[in-house]
Symmetry: C2
Subunit: 181 residues, 2 copies
DNA sequence: GGGATAAGTCAATATGACTGACGTAATGAC
DNA sequence: GTCATTACGTCAGTCATATTGACTTATCCC
């Protein structure tokens, strides 16, 4: 087994962790735990609303990204969510069967099934986004002025470097809401 | 793509809330999505390491909070994780059976089973914390000076108000590492 | 003694994920 | 026109994490 402990506590060379987080290279327990607690409560808002539709977190994610990116291809969605197409299968089917999402053949490539939200889907996506935005807004109100910008920078920097281009394209501030089908 | 992320939106001066929502009350899609992507990658570090032990994310959470809070009672752990004792059951059993956690009868109340990590459990908890700290440190390095403090403030403000006391007690910056059994 | 509390357990179920294999249709290169 | 590749879907089986509900045991405290 790789001896992580000696590597971590060895005083000879200071890792980036040690530099950023204290003289003794102590773990950043506060941020680790804050991320856990903040995310735990953040997703719970939407979870509760989704239960009324018989949907779960997975449905929300699909609906959200289709709402934000009309005409999204299935492959692109899989790449965003980092799940397999089998995992997506059931969730997408339910959203389509219940009229929240529709598929259209690609104009240039007829193998593609482009995804769009319906009016109903857009309404639900927007409702959930507003719930989450309420929590975010209240959080930012209680903080200093630049905290929103700093939070964006920090969260963006937490993303895998090789994913940042894709994330920047998707999560760009002020990007307009997409249209419906 | 730093320019994308450094850009704080509002040209007009509004309240923090209005800025978060945008000029037209639009959802805070950027922060919603950044939270998703940041958390997705954040937990993946530990997930990969845990796979080698046959453990999952649930084991990590239990191990982490027991490591950080030696002598934790089962009820307290359930309250932190917000899961049922049935859900905790299997995970805790496996951690105990494989020698990562031990239980001790409470001294004053013999109904209690106080939880402690073993040396082995402490080593694994620390290894996982270091993995996550590495990502956090690298993220903070790429940001401005006050971003760490701002991120803490933002994440803390994202927690349910009625949970904040409990979270503050657990995730206080600079809180010392707990001891083993 | 008796009610409340701490913890554990059995059973059934839901959700979200996985791997692997296979099928179908369309594209695009040769 | 054939053929490999791509996009998508699906069948089958499995695993991890979570749920509700019911019940037990031991202990505490009034």
């Amino acid at each position: 087994m790789t001896d992580v402990m000696t590597e971590a506590s060895g005083a000879t060379q200071r890792s980036s962790a040690a530099r950023a987080l204290g003289p003794d290279g102590a773990p950043a327990y506060d941020l680790i735990e804050l991320l856990f607690f903040a995310y735990r409560d953040f997703v719970r808002d939407a979870d509760e609303a989704l239960a009324a539709y018989g949907f779960g977190r997975a449905h929300h994610r699909v609906l959200h990204f289709v709402d934000r990116n009309p005409g999204l291809r299935v492959t692109e969605l899989l790449d965003i969510l980092k799940i397999t197409k089998q995992s997506l299968g059931r969730v997408l089917r339910e959203l389509i069967d219940q009229g929240f999402i529709i598929q259209r053949e690609g104009a240039s490539d007829r193998r593609q099934r482009l995804l769009f939200v319906t009016e109903r889907g857009d309404a639900l996506a927007l409702k959930l986004a507003h719930l989450q935005t309420e929590r975010i807004s209240r959080a930012l109100e209680g903080c200093g002025d630049d905290v929103g910008a700093a939070a964006r920078r920090f969260l963006f920097a937490m993303v895998d470097p090789e994913e940042r281009d894709a994330v920047a394209r998707l999560a760009m501030p002020g990007r307009p809401r997409g249209g419906r089908a």
